[in-house]
């Protein structure tokens, strides 16, 4: 049955409306998680606040488990859900650049947009930087095209490349996440910075 947009052949306006509503939910969830604060986000990398890890993995796992149950119950056709294309070089290079951007800016694009809406000036500047970054990317794309399209592997799934069933991989991932959550909570105690976390409350 699902994705609904292809099952019911959504007209353009409805697609745009659902995009806006899903975005609203996304922004709401990010802000509620406390991701509108760059110092909370950066806390992940200094150990005093590991909310990023908790929210990020919980969200991915909830969607992963949910989508597989929906697929089993015949409600969602996973063949029609987009799987990201894997360009090995670009994924790693891009990821490292993003890592640098994360620790310098203190936001990622989604959290930056969510934070600017509640009046964080640093988030506004971050998003302005994002616009500039996008502009530089589109202008320099012809120069980096070779690198951006190198080592193309197609839309590979991780469980397939490991030879595991999706359910078994999910179980392993959840077990790993449960351990990480535990470690993260003890790290929060070990690297606690009450002067920062109290200020953020």
């Amino acid at each position: 049955m699902g994705p609904l947009s292809s099952y019911f052949a959504f007209p353009d306006w409805l697609n745009m409306l659902t995009a806006f509503l899903i975005g609203t939910g996304f922004g709401f969830a990010l802000e509620q998680a406390g991701f509108s604060s760059s110092r909370k986000l950066a806390g992940m990398f200094y150990g005093y606040d590991t909310t990023v890890l908790k929210v990020f993995f919980t969200a991915a796992i909830v969607a992963l488990i949910g989508s597989q149950f929906l697929s089993y119950l015949g409600l969602l056709n996973l063949n029609q859900v987009y799987v990201n294309e894997f360009y090995l070089t670009a994924s790693i290079t891009g990821g490292v650049i993003m890592g640098a951007g994360f620790i310098m800016g203190g936001f990622c694009p989604g959290t930056g947009l969510s934070a600017l809406s509640i009046g964080k000036i640093d988030a506004m500047v971050f998003v302005a930087g994002g616009f500039t970054g996008a502009f530089i990317f589109t202008e320099t794309y012809p120069l980096i095209e070779g690198m951006a399209t190198a080592q193309y592997k197609g839309p590979v799934k991780i469980n397939e490349s490991l030879g595991l069933s999706p359910g078994l991989f999910t179980l392993i991932m959840v077990a790993a996440a449960a351990v990480m959550f535990r470690v993260a909570e003890s790290a929060e105690k070990k690297f606690a910075r009450p002067e920062i976390t109290n200020e953020l409350k």
Partner: protein, 203 residues
């Protein structure tokens, strides 16, 4: 702390169930069995070869003939306008690439009966109610459209149109299948489906 424990436990329990399920990204039939059965036993899911001949002569753009035979057989001889999706491929890949256009009636055929009928039930079971079969397949097509000659003294107007359609369809059929190999291959290649690209990602 407390929430973390409960949460990890719930997720672990659920993913344990998932690990036991034979999950794959494959699809399942969504309609009810009795509904599907009465639907596919109905006469209006199949077209006669004469109806198909008429579609071809009229160059009807709301139908799509789907040839379920092997690529070799398809290249050797085929009905004008048909595309080749070997039955094996139809079952083993996501059929949405081919069948998703709801404005087109897809008509399956093969040499005889069986395979198109599987394909009909399979496609309708997955929800593609725009699926039909050509009764009798290629065998019937050759016997009826290509090889029947009018014999007798008098001809009614209806018979006349019928034979005219068969004659035109037969001509188109012979013309296509007598093309030199290279030209024919190119013509058939141009009719291939390109895999539908999913919209998504962040590009």
């Amino acid at each position: 702390m407390e929430i973390r424990r409960k949460f990890s436990a719930l997720l672990l329990l659920l993913s344990f169930v998932l690990a036991l399920l034979p999950l794959s990204a494959n699809r399942s039939f969504t309609v009810k069995p009795d509904k599907l059965l009465s639907e596919v036993l109905n006469e209006d899911v199949s077209f006669t070869v004469d109806q198909v001949a008429e579609f071809i002569v009229r160059e009807d753009s709301t139908i799509q003939l789907i040839d379920l035979r092997s690529p070799e057989e398809f290249r050797k001889q085929t009905i004008p306008g048909a595309v080749n999706i070997p039955y094996h491929d139809l079952i083993n890949t996501d059929p949405d690439i081919w069948l998703n256009n709801k404005n087109i009636r897809n008509i399956f055929y093969s040499n005889g009966n069986i395979e198109p009928d599987y394909a009909l039930v399979y496609a309708r079971g997955l929800g593609y109610t725009n699926s039909f079969v050509m009764a009798g397949g290629m065998t019937e097509w050759i016997n009826t459209v290509i090889e029947t000659k009018f014999e007798g003294d008098r001809i009614t107007a209806r018979e006349n149109t019928l034979f005219e359609v068969r004659r035109r369809a037969g001509e188109m059929f012979t013309e296509l299948n007598n093309l030199p190999d290279s030209l024919k291959t190119r013509f058939l290649e141009s009719k291939k489906f390109s895999a539908k690209k999913l919209d998504g990602g962040c590009q």
